[in-house]
Amino acid sequence: MTDGLAGRTVLLTGVTGFIGQALLERVLSGHPDTRVVAVLRERPGMTAEQRLDELIDKPVFWSWRERVGDDAARATVRERVRVVTADLTDSVPELPDDIDVVIHGASIVSFDPPIDDAFRTNVVGTVDLYDAVRRAGERGGKKPHIVHVSTAYVAGSKKGIVAETSLQHDIDWTTELECAVEARRAVERDSRRPEVLGRLRAAALKEQGKAGPTAVAADTEQRRRKEVDERLIAYGRERARSLGWPDVYTLTKALGERAAEQTAHDVPLSIVRPAIVESSLRHPYPGWIDGFKMADPLILAYGQGMLRALAGIPDGIVDIIPVDLVVNALLAAAATPPEPGSPAYYHVGSGARNPLTLQRLIELVQEYFDEHPLPGTDGRGAIRPRDVTLLSEGRADKMLGTAERAMDFAEKALLMLPSGDRTRGWQRNLYKQGREVRMLRRYRDLYGAYGAAEVVYADSATLALDASLPDDAGCDSAVIDWAYYLRDVHCAAVTAAFRGVPPPVREPKPILTAGRPAPPPIVFEERADVAAVFDLDGTIVASDVVEAHLWARLLDAPLKAWPQTMLPVLRSVPRYLRTEHRDRGEFLREFVQRYEGANEAELRRLAQERLSDVLLRRAWPQAIRRIRRHRAAGHRTVLLTGAVDVFVEPLRTLFDDVLAARLRVVDGRCTGTFEQPPLIGEARAAWVRAWAQKEGIDLAGSWAYGDHYSDRPVLEQVGHPVAVNPDARLYRHAKRQRWSIADWDGDSGAVTTLLDAALAGASQKGGAR
C-alpha cells in the first residue's frame, strides 16, 4: 500500500482525547513522512507544549517508544510536531499555511452540557476552525482536506438502517445557535428576579443560616449559578428531544456536521461517524484504553457486584468499535479526499457487519468475570458478581426514582436529628449508599440512549476504505471476534487498574487483645505567634446557656422550690428552640431577659461557689488537656463564647483572652440586656481576624475548635480547624473540607451524678438555714 499521507502536513485537534491520542500515535509511528500540527489548549500553570510533552509519556506511546527508543521518539516529536496554542471555543488563531489535512476530533465530552456550551464547542468551534483552515489554505494555495469526526448517533432517534449520507433535516443551525446564546442571557436575567433570589436565599438560609450572613450570601449565589446551569441543561435536553435527538450532544454534533458542510463547501470534506469507541483490538497493543469509556463503568460495576439491574432490550444492538479501527478509518479517509463540495460520509461501527446484542454482551462479560473475578478491596477474596436483570425503561426509571427519593429523605431526616456518635455513623453509611445510587443514576442517563438502539448504521463506504488498508490495520468490524475481544481484551483492559496492585501479602498480624495502644500525647510546636481559639458550649463543656442557667438557679434554690424554678424555663424551651433555630443572637437576647433584676454580686457569688463545679464537672478532660497543651507550647489561648462572663469565670485561668457576653448592670442589678452585642458566628470570625492582626497572630498556623455549624466562620479563619463532637451539618462540612474531627467524651455527660451534687447542696443549704 502507498502511504497516502506521506509528505503531508496533518492538523489534529483533540489530541489529548481518546481517539486523538491514538491518532497522534499512529501518525508518529506509522507515517514517518507525515508532519503534525497539534492544536492544544493551555491549562493553568501549563503551556500547550508542556501538555504535549506530558502526552508523550502516556501508555499509548509506550510500545512505539520502546521500539524506537526514548530519545529518538522525543526527537521525532520535536521534529515532526508543531504546537498551535488555541482554545477552539474561544477564538482560532491564524494557522500555518502548509496544512494538507485537518482531522478535527475535539468535541465536548459531556452528553448533558448547558446548551450554549454545547453549541460553542461543537458548532462555533468547528466553524471557526474550518474558516481558519480555509484562510490558511488560501494563503498557501492549497485546498486542505477536512476530516470531521462526528458520531453515528447524529442520526438521532431514527430506527432501522441509517445510510452514509448527509443528514436529512432542515434545521437552521445559525438560528439554533443564536437562540442558545440568547438562552444563556435570558436564564441569567431570569435568575436575578427577586422572586427567584428570594427563594434561593430562603433555601440558603435554612441550610447555612447558622454560619452567618456571608455564608448565606455565598451559598445563595452558588445556588443561583447551579440553577442557571441546570436550566440551560434543560434547555439543551428539551430542544434536542423536540427535534428528535436524544440529547444536546448529538444535536450539536448533527448541527456541527451541517455547519461543516456549509463552511467547508469549497474544500474536500470527509465526515467520519464512529459508534461507541472502546479499547483497541490490536494497535498500539490489544486492550489499550485511556480512562473509562461508555460501557466500562457498567462492566466494572458488574464485576464489583454492584450492578443488579439494567435498562435495555436483550436483542438491541450495542454498537461497539475498537479505537484502532476508528483510527484506521480516519487515516484512510484522510488519505482519500473527495471532490470539494461533495463530502464523503463514513460510519465506523460494528452493528451492520458484526452485530453484538446486549444479551450477548452481558453473557460475555459474565463469562469473563466468572473466570476472572475481581479481587475484593477488603482482601476478603474475590467478588462474586450478581446476575443482572434487564428491565424495561419505565421500570428502571421508577426504581431509581424511588431510591433517590429515599436517600433524599434520609439525608434530610438525619440533619434534623441531634448529633452524636450514632448519627455520625448513620451519616457515614448514608454517604456511601448515596454514592451508589448516584452512580446508578449516571449509568442510567449515560447508557439510556446508546446502549441498545434498534438502529443499524450502514458502513459500505467504510468497507470500501478498508480495501485500501493492510490486513492488520483495517477498519472492517467483521474481523472482531466478540468473545475474544470482550473476554480477553476489553474486560481485561478495563479491570487492569483493579488488578494492577498485587494482593497484599498478609503476614499474620498481632492482634491487639488489649485494645489499640494509646496515641502518644500531642506536642505542639512552640510558637508565640499562634493562637488556639475555643468555643465553650459543646466544645469544652457538655452544656449550653439554658442548662447553665438552670443549674445556677437550681443550685441556689431549696429543694422544694425546684419545680417553680424549673417550670418557667422548661415552658419556654420550645420558644427558645424556635428562636435559636432562627437566630442565635436573638435567642441569647431573649434568654438573657431572665436575669432582669438579678443582683449582680449575688450572681457572681453563686457562679463562683456553685456553678464552677458544674462547669468543671461537665468539661471534657480532653478539651482541658488540649487547652493546656496549647498553653504549654506558648500559644495564645482564646475563649469565644456567647455565655455570660460570670459563668465562664472558673475557666478563666486557662485562657489568655476571654471574650464572653457581658450583662448590663445598673446600680448592682442586671437589666436583662447585654452590655455589648454578643459575638456570634461571623462576628466572631471578624473579631478573630481583627484581633489576630492587632496581636500579630499567624492565623494560618493557628487552631480553632467548635462543635456547631455556627462556628464554621471561626473555624475557617485558621489553618488547623477542629470540629469537636460536631453537629450533623458541621460534620458534613468538616468531612468535605478534610478538617480534623475530634470525639471528646468522658464522664461529663453524667447528669445524674451532677444531680446528686445539686441535691446534696440543696438539702445542705436547706438545713443550714
Binding site: T513, A514, G515, P517, A518, P520, P521, S612, D613, L616, R617, A619, P621, I624, R625, R628, P650, T653, L654, G746, D747, S748, A750, T752, T753, D756, A760, G761, S763, Q764, G767, A768
Partner: protein, 525 residues
C-alpha cells in the same frame, strides 16, 4: 470474747467464698488447699463512748489532763482526719464529732476564745460543706463554718510555716495557724496500722515541699510494710518530722479505733464467715447480688457510695502522741491481726468499691492499682504474704472511669504518663515536678474539689514496693486495655488467671486469699 483471726484451708466441705470486686461481689470456689485469711471477729464496741472520751481527755497518757492545757487567751487549733477515714464513712454521729464537741466544751469552760478547726486533708481534695458537716456534726458546723472551720490549703503560701529541717534534711512545713497555736488537738480515727501517730500532724497539715521527703519511690520501697511502723522507712520519716514540730508546737493527740462492723444492715452477713451464713443470709446474698448486677451503673454507684458503716468504737486514747499511738496500734492489731505461717506463691485479693480517695467519688483505675498493690499488698507484718517473684491475682472491673472534678490530674496521668512508662522511679524523676507545680492543678486543688496534681504520683509510688517484689499481676474481670496500660494482664476467670500465673510460679503454686474487707493484717511468720 470475739474469736481470733483464722487461716482456713479450703477443703471439700468449704463453700464458695465471698470476693469483692468493685461495686459488686461474687462467690468464688477456690482450689483445694488454698489458704484463706480471715480477720478476728468484730470486737464489741464501747457502750458509753462519751464517757470513754471524757475519761481519755481527763486521764491522758503522758500528759496533763486536757482542761489543764486550756486557758483563756490561748490559741487552740483542733485538727481532724478528713473523709479518707474511716472507710466506709461512719454512720452519724461520727466519733470525731463526739470528741470535738467535748474538747470544745472544755475549751469553752476554760474561756478559750481563739479556737479554729482544720481538716487535715493535706493534698487531698477539699471537703464539701456537707462532708465536713458529716464529720464534725451540725452544732459544730453551724457555729464555726466557714471562717473558723476550714480545709487545710497546702498551696496557700501565705499560710504555711516552715519549722526547719530534720537531721535527715527533711523540710517540715505545716499550716501556719496550727504552727502558731499554743495547742494543737488532733482528733484521729485509726483504721489501719499505717495511720495516726506521728503521721497525723506532720502529713495532714503539710505541703508538697514537706511531703515529698517521705512520699517517694525510695522511701516506699523501703517501707516493708508501711502498715508495720517499726519496719517502715516512711514512718521513720514521720517520726523525725513529728519530733521536730513538737519542739515548736504542743500536740495533744486523741485517737479512736473502730471495730470491723463495716456493712450496714441488711448486709451485715457479709462480715460472717461463709459457712456460717444462715439460709436467710444466703437468700439475701442471692437477692442482693442479682439486684446489684441488674441495677443501672448510676444507681448501683449511689447505693454503694451511700453506705455508712455502723462501726463500734473499740478505743479512745488521748495524750502524748507516741504513748497514745502505741495503745491504738494494740487495738488495731487486736481487731485485724491474723498470724499466718509462711509465704505463698500466689496472693489473691478481692478489691472493693472504696479506697481512701474515692469517698463520694469514682474509683478510677489508678486508685484500684493503689488499693491492690499499695494498701492491700502491704497489709502484712514481717514478710509479704506472697514470696518474692510470686504472683498477685486481684479482682476488680478496672474500668477507665474518672471523676473529672475530683481527679483531673489522674486523667492526665493515665493518658499522658502511664502511656509512656509505668516505672515508678522514672515517673518520679521525669514527671512529678511538672504535675506538682502545674498552676492549673493547683488552681483546681485550691478552688475546686480536686486532688492535688501530684496525688496520682503518690498512688503510683504506693505500689512501688509491690511492683518490684511481684513477678506477675493478673486482674480478674478487668478491662483489658486498662490492665495492659498498667503492664498487667486481664483474665476472665480465676482458673484462667491461675493458668496464666503458672508461667511465673509453676503449675502447682501455693495459694493465699486475703479475705477482706473488713481489714485483715497478716502477721507472716
Amino acid at each position: 470474747m470475739s474469736r481470733p483471726g483464722l487461716v482456713l484451708e479450703v477443703d471439700e466441705r468449704t463453700p464458695p467464698l465471698l470476693v469483692h470486686e468493685g461495686e459488686g461481689f461474687r462467690l468464688e470456689r477456690f482450689p483445694l488447699g488454698t489458704r484463706v485469711i480471715y480477720p478476728p471477729d468484730s470486737l464489741p464496741g464501747i457502750r458509753d463512748v462519751n464517757r470513754r472520751i471524757e475519761d481519755a481527755l481527763l486521764n491522758p497518757l503522758g500528759s496533763e489532763p486536757l482542761p489543764e492545757l486550756l486557758h483563756s487567751g490561748m490559741r487552740l487549733t483542733i485538727v481532724f482526719d478528713d473523709l479518707s477515714l474511716p472507710l466506709p464513712p461512719m454512720q452519724a454521729p461520727d466519733v470525731r464529732q463526739r470528741v470535738i464537741e467535748q474538747v470544745l466544751e472544755m475549751a469553752a469552760n476554760a474561756g478559750v476564745d481563739d479556737v479554729e478547726l482544720l481538716a487535715g486533708n493535706a493534698l487531698h481534695r477539699r471537703m464539701t460543706p456537707a462532708e465536713i458537716k458529716h464529720i464534725v456534726g451540725e452544732r459544730v458546723f453551724n457555729s464555726f463554718w466557714p471562717d473558723r472551720l476550714r480545709n487545710h490549703d497546702a498551696e496557700d503560701r501565705d499560710n504555711l510555716t516552715s519549722l526547719g529541717q530534720t537531721r535527715h534534711g527533711e523540710d517540715v512545713e505545716i499550716n501556719s495557724r496550727a504552727a502558731q497555736s499554743d495547742l494543737i488537738v488532733y482528733v484521729n480515727i485509726t483504721l489501719v496500722a499505717m495511720s495516726g501517730g506521728a503521721k497525723s500532724v506532720s502529713v495532714g497539715l503539710a505541703s508538697y515541699k514537706s511531703l515529698r521527703h517521705h512520699h517517694n519511690v525510695h522511701t516506699l520501697r523501703h517501707s516493708r510494710s508501711f502498715n508495720d511502723p517499726p519496719n517502715s522507712a516512711m514512718h521513720h520519716s514521720y517520726e523525725r518530722m513529728h519530733s521536730l514540730l513538737s519542739e515548736s508546737v504542743r500536740v495533744f493527740h486523741i485517737e479512736c479505733t473502730v471495730n470491723n462492723d463495716v456493712f450496714p444492715s441488711p448486709f451485715q452477713f457479709l462480715n460472717k464467715r461463709e459457712w456460717e451464713w444462715t439460709l436467710k443470709d444466703q437468700a439475701k446474698f442471692l437477692a442482693g447480688k442479682r439486684a446489684n448486677d441488674l441495677a443501672p451503673a448510676g444507681a448501683r454507684h449511689r447505693v454503694w457510695q451511700n453506705m455508712r458503716a455502723p462501726y463500734g468504737v473499740t478505743g479512745v486514747h488521748a495524750g502524748a502522741t507516741d504513748l497514745v499511738h502505741e495503745k491504738t496500734l494494740g487495738n488495731v492489731h487486736r481487731q485485724q491481726l491474723t498470724e499466718v505461717q509462711g509465704q505463698s506463691d500466689v496472693l489473691m485479693l478481692g478489691l472493693p468499691y472504696l479506697c481512701p480517695y474515692n469517698v463520694n467519688s469514682v474509683m478510677n483505675p489508678i486508685l484500684v492499682y493503689s488499693l491492690g498493690l499499695g494498701y492491700y499488698f502491704n497489709m502484712y507484718k514481717n514478710k509479704p504474704l506472697v514470696r518474692e517473684g510470686g504472683a498477685l491475682i486481684m479482682y476488680h472491673p478496672m474500668k477507665a472511669e474518672f471523676h473529672p472534678l475530683h481527679h483531673p490530674s489522674y486523667i492526665d496521668f493515665y493518658e499522658e504518663v502511664l502511656t509512656q512508662t509505668i516505672d515508678p522511679a522514672t515517673i518520679e524523676t521525669k514527671f512529678e515536678e511538672q504535675y506538682a507545680t502545674d498552676p492549673w492543678y493547683i488552681h483546681l486543688y485550691r478552688n475546686s474539689y480536686a486532688y492535688h496534681g501530684v496525688h496520682p504520683f503518690y498512688m503510683w509510688y504506693w505500689g512501688a514496693h509491690a511492683l518490684s517484689h511481684l513477678g506477675d499481676v493478673i486482674c480478674v474481670g478487668a478491662d483489658r486495655r486498662v490492665a495492659s496500660r498498667f503492664g498487667f494482664r486481664a483474665a476472665s476467670t480465676l482458673a484462667d488467671a491461675l493458668e496464666m500465673a503458672g508461667e511465673t510460679v509453676g503449675r502447682s503454686p501455693s495459694l493465699t486469699y486475703l479475705h477482706t474487707p473488713p481489714m485483715t493484717l497478716a502477721d507472716v511468720r
